[in-house]
Amino acid sequence: MAVIVVRDLFSAAMLFAIYSLLSAALFVVLDAGDVALTEAAVGAGISTILILAVLTLTRRFEHPVKTLHWPALSVVTITGICLLWAVSDLPEFGNPQNPVHQHVAPYYIEQSYPDMGVPNMVAAVLAGYRAFDTFGEVIVIFTAGLAVFSLLSVRPKKRAEEPDEERES
Protein backbone atom coordinates (compact mmCIF):
# COMPACT_ATOMS: atom_id res chain seq x y z
CA MET A 1 0.00 0.00 0.00
CA ALA A 2 3.00 2.23 0.27
CA VAL A 3 3.14 2.01 -3.49
CA ILE A 4 0.08 4.22 -3.68
CA VAL A 5 1.19 6.84 -1.23
CA VAL A 6 4.79 7.36 -2.19
CA ARG A 7 5.34 10.12 -4.73
CA ASP A 8 8.76 9.12 -5.91
CA LEU A 9 8.00 6.78 -8.76
CA PHE A 10 11.39 5.17 -8.53
CA SER A 11 10.58 4.10 -5.00
CA ALA A 12 7.20 2.94 -6.19
CA ALA A 13 8.89 0.78 -8.81
CA MET A 14 11.23 -0.70 -6.22
CA LEU A 15 8.36 -1.40 -3.86
CA PHE A 16 6.53 -3.04 -6.72
CA ALA A 17 9.54 -5.25 -7.38
CA ILE A 18 9.60 -6.25 -3.71
CA TYR A 19 5.89 -7.00 -3.90
CA SER A 20 6.43 -9.23 -6.94
CA LEU A 21 9.25 -11.07 -5.27
CA LEU A 22 7.21 -11.63 -2.14
CA SER A 23 4.30 -12.95 -4.15
CA ALA A 24 6.70 -15.28 -5.98
CA ALA A 25 7.84 -16.58 -2.59
CA LEU A 26 4.20 -17.01 -1.68
CA PHE A 27 3.70 -19.06 -4.82
CA VAL A 28 6.53 -21.34 -3.79
CA VAL A 29 4.91 -21.90 -0.42
CA LEU A 30 1.65 -22.63 -2.21
CA ASP A 31 3.37 -25.39 -4.23
CA ALA A 32 3.38 -23.58 -7.56
CA GLY A 33 6.93 -23.95 -8.82
CA ASP A 34 6.42 -22.95 -12.45
CA VAL A 35 4.30 -19.98 -11.56
CA ALA A 36 6.76 -18.78 -8.94
CA LEU A 37 9.58 -18.90 -11.47
CA THR A 38 7.59 -17.00 -14.04
CA GLU A 39 6.31 -14.40 -11.61
CA ALA A 40 9.75 -13.80 -10.15
CA ALA A 41 11.31 -13.42 -13.59
CA VAL A 42 8.53 -11.35 -15.09
CA GLY A 43 7.27 -9.26 -12.21
CA ALA A 44 10.46 -8.50 -10.39
CA GLY A 45 12.54 -8.41 -13.55
CA ILE A 46 10.87 -7.34 -16.73
CA SER A 47 8.02 -5.21 -15.44
CA THR A 48 10.31 -3.33 -13.12
CA ILE A 49 12.91 -2.66 -15.76
CA LEU A 50 10.26 -1.42 -18.17
CA ILE A 51 8.81 0.92 -15.55
CA LEU A 52 12.27 2.25 -14.82
CA ALA A 53 12.91 2.71 -18.53
CA VAL A 54 9.72 4.75 -18.81
CA LEU A 55 10.72 6.78 -15.78
CA THR A 56 13.82 7.94 -17.58
CA LEU A 57 11.54 9.24 -20.30
CA THR A 58 8.99 10.98 -18.10
CA ARG A 59 9.04 12.75 -14.79
CA ARG A 60 10.29 10.88 -11.82
CA PHE A 61 7.93 12.40 -9.26
CA GLU A 62 4.23 12.46 -9.64
CA HIS A 63 2.23 15.53 -8.82
CA PRO A 64 1.22 16.03 -5.23
CA VAL A 65 -2.30 14.96 -4.49
CA LYS A 66 -3.83 17.37 -2.06
CA THR A 67 -6.50 15.35 -0.35
CA LEU A 68 -7.63 11.78 -0.28
CA HIS A 69 -9.78 11.09 -3.28
CA TRP A 70 -13.08 10.50 -1.55
CA PRO A 71 -15.27 9.16 -4.37
CA ALA A 72 -12.59 6.67 -5.30
CA LEU A 73 -12.10 5.67 -1.70
CA SER A 74 -15.81 5.09 -1.24
CA VAL A 75 -16.04 3.03 -4.43
CA VAL A 76 -13.09 0.97 -3.35
CA THR A 77 -14.46 0.43 0.14
CA ILE A 78 -17.88 -0.59 -1.10
CA THR A 79 -16.38 -2.98 -3.64
CA GLY A 80 -14.10 -4.39 -1.00
CA ILE A 81 -16.91 -5.02 1.42
CA CYS A 82 -19.01 -6.69 -1.27
CA LEU A 83 -16.10 -8.88 -2.25
CA LEU A 84 -15.34 -9.84 1.33
CA TRP A 85 -18.93 -10.79 1.82
CA ALA A 86 -18.95 -12.83 -1.39
CA VAL A 87 -15.74 -14.56 -0.52
CA SER A 88 -17.26 -16.18 2.54
CA ASP A 89 -19.18 -18.46 0.23
CA LEU A 90 -16.03 -19.85 -1.30
CA PRO A 91 -14.76 -23.19 -0.08
CA GLU A 92 -12.14 -23.06 2.57
CA PHE A 93 -8.47 -22.98 1.89
CA GLY A 94 -6.65 -26.18 1.11
CA ASN A 95 -9.37 -28.69 1.63
CA PRO A 96 -8.86 -31.70 -0.65
CA GLN A 97 -12.59 -32.09 -1.02
CA ASN A 98 -13.03 -28.71 -2.68
CA PRO A 99 -15.06 -28.81 -5.88
CA VAL A 100 -12.16 -27.42 -7.85
CA HIS A 101 -10.21 -30.59 -7.24
CA GLN A 102 -12.94 -33.01 -8.13
CA HIS A 103 -13.81 -33.18 -11.75
CA VAL A 104 -11.08 -32.53 -14.28
CA ALA A 105 -7.98 -32.27 -12.13
CA PRO A 106 -7.78 -35.91 -10.96
CA TYR A 107 -7.82 -37.00 -14.60
CA TYR A 108 -4.87 -34.78 -15.37
CA ILE A 109 -2.98 -35.77 -12.27
CA GLU A 110 -3.39 -39.46 -12.93
CA GLN A 111 -3.28 -39.62 -16.69
CA SER A 112 -0.66 -37.12 -17.70
CA TYR A 113 2.26 -39.47 -17.16
CA PRO A 114 0.68 -42.49 -18.88
CA ASP A 115 -0.45 -40.32 -21.77
CA MET A 116 2.53 -38.09 -22.22
CA GLY A 117 5.53 -39.53 -20.44
CA VAL A 118 6.34 -36.11 -19.05
CA PRO A 119 6.65 -35.83 -15.27
CA ASN A 120 5.96 -32.11 -15.12
CA MET A 121 2.20 -32.01 -15.09
CA VAL A 122 1.97 -28.31 -15.68
CA ALA A 123 4.10 -28.49 -18.82
CA ALA A 124 2.18 -31.55 -19.98
CA VAL A 125 -1.12 -29.72 -19.71
CA LEU A 126 0.27 -26.47 -21.09
CA ALA A 127 2.00 -27.87 -24.15
CA GLY A 128 0.18 -31.15 -24.58
CA TYR A 129 -3.44 -31.17 -23.66
CA ARG A 130 -4.00 -27.43 -23.97
CA ALA A 131 -1.42 -26.61 -26.59
CA PHE A 132 -3.83 -24.46 -28.54
CA ASP A 133 -4.17 -22.00 -25.68
CA THR A 134 -0.42 -21.72 -25.48
CA PHE A 135 -0.38 -21.00 -29.18
CA GLY A 136 -2.79 -18.14 -28.58
CA GLU A 137 -0.53 -16.86 -25.85
CA VAL A 138 2.50 -16.84 -28.14
CA ILE A 139 0.47 -14.82 -30.60
CA VAL A 140 -0.49 -12.40 -27.81
CA ILE A 141 3.08 -11.74 -26.82
CA PHE A 142 4.10 -11.40 -30.43
CA THR A 143 1.29 -8.88 -30.96
CA ALA A 144 2.43 -6.95 -27.91
CA GLY A 145 5.91 -6.73 -29.37
CA LEU A 146 4.43 -5.59 -32.64
CA ALA A 147 2.30 -2.96 -30.89
CA VAL A 148 5.24 -1.56 -28.94
CA PHE A 149 7.30 -1.48 -32.08
CA SER A 150 4.62 0.36 -34.02
CA LEU A 151 4.11 2.83 -31.18
CA LEU A 152 7.73 3.61 -30.49
CA SER A 153 9.31 3.49 -33.89
CA VAL A 154 8.07 6.94 -34.80
CA ARG A 155 10.83 9.45 -34.16
CA PRO A 156 10.06 11.85 -31.36
CA LYS A 157 9.86 15.53 -32.22
CA LYS A 158 12.37 17.61 -30.34
CA ARG A 159 10.70 19.88 -27.86
CA ALA A 160 12.11 23.20 -26.79
CA GLU A 161 10.73 23.52 -23.31
CA GLU A 162 8.42 21.68 -21.02
CA PRO A 163 5.08 23.27 -20.25
CA ASP A 164 4.56 21.66 -16.91
CA GLU A 165 7.70 22.92 -15.23
CA GLU A 166 5.96 25.79 -13.46
CA ARG A 167 2.95 23.91 -12.29
CA GLU A 168 4.39 22.78 -9.00
CA SER A 169 2.53 24.77 -6.38
Binding site: T38, A53, V122, A123, P156
Partner: protein, 150 residues
Protein backbone atom coordinates in the same frame (compact mmCIF):
# COMPACT_ATOMS: atom_id res chain seq x y z
CA UNK B 1 28.32 1.95 -15.98
CA UNK B 2 31.11 0.39 -17.92
CA UNK B 3 33.70 1.98 -15.71
CA UNK B 4 32.34 0.63 -12.50
CA UNK B 5 34.64 -2.27 -11.75
CA UNK B 6 32.43 -4.16 -9.36
CA UNK B 7 29.46 -4.19 -11.69
CA UNK B 8 31.55 -5.24 -14.61
CA UNK B 9 33.15 -8.16 -12.83
CA UNK B 10 29.89 -9.42 -11.44
CA UNK B 11 28.15 -8.99 -14.79
CA UNK B 12 30.86 -10.88 -16.57
CA UNK B 13 30.35 -13.69 -14.14
CA UNK B 14 26.58 -13.63 -14.03
CA UNK B 15 25.51 -13.11 -17.62
CA UNK B 16 26.78 -16.42 -19.05
CA UNK B 17 25.48 -18.15 -15.95
CA UNK B 18 22.02 -16.71 -16.42
CA UNK B 19 21.98 -17.63 -20.09
CA UNK B 20 23.09 -21.16 -19.32
CA UNK B 21 20.45 -21.44 -16.64
CA UNK B 22 17.85 -20.20 -19.11
CA UNK B 23 18.83 -22.95 -21.54
CA UNK B 24 18.70 -25.49 -18.74
CA UNK B 25 15.22 -24.43 -17.78
CA UNK B 26 14.15 -24.46 -21.40
CA UNK B 27 15.11 -28.03 -22.06
CA UNK B 28 14.36 -29.48 -18.65
CA UNK B 29 10.83 -28.18 -18.67
CA UNK B 30 9.66 -31.76 -18.74
CA UNK B 31 11.29 -32.79 -15.51
CA UNK B 32 11.45 -29.70 -13.35
CA UNK B 33 9.57 -26.44 -13.12
CA UNK B 34 10.25 -24.46 -16.20
CA UNK B 35 9.43 -24.48 -19.84
CA UNK B 36 9.34 -21.97 -22.60
CA UNK B 37 8.17 -18.77 -20.93
CA UNK B 38 10.48 -18.84 -17.97
CA UNK B 39 13.48 -19.61 -20.13
CA UNK B 40 12.67 -16.90 -22.64
CA UNK B 41 12.23 -14.28 -19.95
CA UNK B 42 15.50 -15.24 -18.25
CA UNK B 43 17.45 -15.12 -21.46
CA UNK B 44 16.06 -11.69 -22.21
CA UNK B 45 16.92 -10.60 -18.67
CA UNK B 46 20.52 -11.67 -19.15
CA UNK B 47 20.71 -9.64 -22.34
CA UNK B 48 19.13 -6.64 -20.62
CA UNK B 49 21.73 -6.90 -17.88
CA UNK B 50 24.41 -6.82 -20.55
CA UNK B 51 22.88 -3.71 -22.10
CA UNK B 52 22.60 -1.99 -18.72
CA UNK B 53 26.28 -2.48 -18.03
CA UNK B 54 27.84 -2.03 -21.42
CA UNK B 55 25.41 0.24 -23.22
CA UNK B 56 22.84 -0.24 -25.92
CA UNK B 57 25.16 -0.20 -28.99
CA UNK B 58 27.21 -3.02 -27.50
CA UNK B 59 24.05 -4.98 -26.83
CA UNK B 60 22.78 -4.44 -30.34
CA UNK B 61 26.11 -5.56 -31.74
CA UNK B 62 25.61 -8.89 -30.03
CA UNK B 63 21.99 -9.42 -31.01
CA UNK B 64 20.99 -7.04 -33.79
CA UNK B 65 17.52 -5.74 -34.11
CA UNK B 66 16.81 -7.56 -37.34
CA UNK B 67 17.60 -10.80 -35.58
CA UNK B 68 15.04 -9.93 -32.93
CA UNK B 69 12.38 -9.32 -35.53
CA UNK B 70 13.13 -12.53 -37.36
CA UNK B 71 13.39 -14.66 -34.24
CA UNK B 72 10.14 -13.47 -32.74
CA UNK B 73 8.25 -14.43 -35.85
CA UNK B 74 10.26 -17.64 -36.22
CA UNK B 75 9.23 -18.93 -32.82
CA UNK B 76 5.54 -18.50 -33.47
CA UNK B 77 5.97 -20.01 -36.93
CA UNK B 78 7.78 -23.01 -35.47
CA UNK B 79 4.84 -23.57 -33.16
CA UNK B 80 2.40 -23.39 -36.06
CA UNK B 81 4.65 -25.62 -38.14
CA UNK B 82 4.64 -28.35 -35.52
CA UNK B 83 0.89 -28.07 -35.38
CA UNK B 84 0.51 -28.32 -39.13
CA UNK B 85 2.97 -31.21 -39.20
CA UNK B 86 0.51 -33.07 -37.05
CA UNK B 87 -2.19 -32.34 -39.62
CA UNK B 88 0.03 -33.33 -42.52
CA UNK B 89 0.84 -36.69 -40.98
CA UNK B 90 -2.76 -37.53 -40.42
CA UNK B 91 -3.86 -36.19 -37.06
CA UNK B 92 -5.50 -33.08 -35.70
CA UNK B 93 -3.87 -29.68 -35.39
CA UNK B 94 -1.20 -29.75 -32.65
CA UNK B 95 -1.64 -33.48 -32.26
CA UNK B 96 1.77 -34.94 -31.48
CA UNK B 97 0.86 -38.59 -31.83
CA UNK B 98 1.59 -39.04 -35.55
CA UNK B 99 5.07 -37.52 -35.26
CA UNK B 100 6.95 -40.59 -34.07
CA UNK B 101 6.05 -44.22 -33.47
CA UNK B 102 6.37 -44.49 -29.73
CA UNK B 103 3.54 -42.38 -28.24
CA UNK B 104 5.53 -41.19 -25.25
CA UNK B 105 8.45 -40.11 -27.41
CA UNK B 106 6.11 -38.38 -29.82
CA UNK B 107 4.53 -36.35 -27.07
CA UNK B 108 7.88 -35.47 -25.55
CA UNK B 109 9.35 -34.47 -28.90
CA UNK B 110 6.34 -32.34 -29.71
CA UNK B 111 6.41 -30.67 -26.32
CA UNK B 112 10.12 -29.90 -26.47
CA UNK B 113 9.90 -28.38 -29.93
CA UNK B 114 6.84 -26.35 -29.12
CA UNK B 115 8.34 -25.02 -25.92
CA UNK B 116 11.49 -24.11 -27.81
CA UNK B 117 9.41 -22.04 -30.22
CA UNK B 118 7.68 -20.35 -27.31
CA UNK B 119 10.98 -19.60 -25.58
CA UNK B 120 12.53 -18.08 -28.68
CA UNK B 121 9.55 -15.85 -29.32
CA UNK B 122 9.24 -14.66 -25.73
CA UNK B 123 12.96 -13.89 -25.42
CA UNK B 124 13.14 -11.97 -28.67
CA UNK B 125 9.95 -10.02 -28.02
CA UNK B 126 11.09 -8.90 -24.58
CA UNK B 127 14.48 -7.91 -25.96
CA UNK B 128 12.72 -5.99 -28.73
CA UNK B 129 10.46 -4.14 -26.29
CA UNK B 130 13.43 -3.18 -24.16
CA UNK B 131 15.35 -1.98 -27.21
CA UNK B 132 12.42 0.18 -28.26
CA UNK B 133 12.27 1.83 -24.86
CA UNK B 134 16.01 2.21 -24.50
CA UNK B 135 16.46 3.72 -27.91
CA UNK B 136 13.75 6.22 -27.19
CA UNK B 137 15.80 7.46 -24.29
CA UNK B 138 18.73 8.10 -26.53
CA UNK B 139 16.75 10.09 -29.05
CA UNK B 140 14.57 12.07 -26.72
CA UNK B 141 15.74 15.58 -26.09
CA UNK B 142 13.90 16.22 -22.89
CA UNK B 143 14.48 16.22 -19.19
CA UNK B 144 16.29 13.14 -18.02
CA UNK B 145 16.25 11.40 -14.70
CA UNK B 146 18.44 8.67 -13.37
CA UNK B 147 16.42 5.56 -13.11
CA UNK B 148 18.37 2.84 -14.77
CA UNK B 149 20.05 1.04 -11.94
CA UNK B 150 18.41 -1.56 -9.78
Amino acid sequence: MRDNGILRVIARFLIPLIMLFALYIQFHGDYSPGGGFQAGVMFAAAWILFVLIYGLPAGLAVIPERAMFVLSAAGALLYAFIGLLGVALGGKFLDYAPLLEDPHSAQQAGIILVEFGVGVTVASVIMLIFTMFARRRGEFDGQGVRGDDD
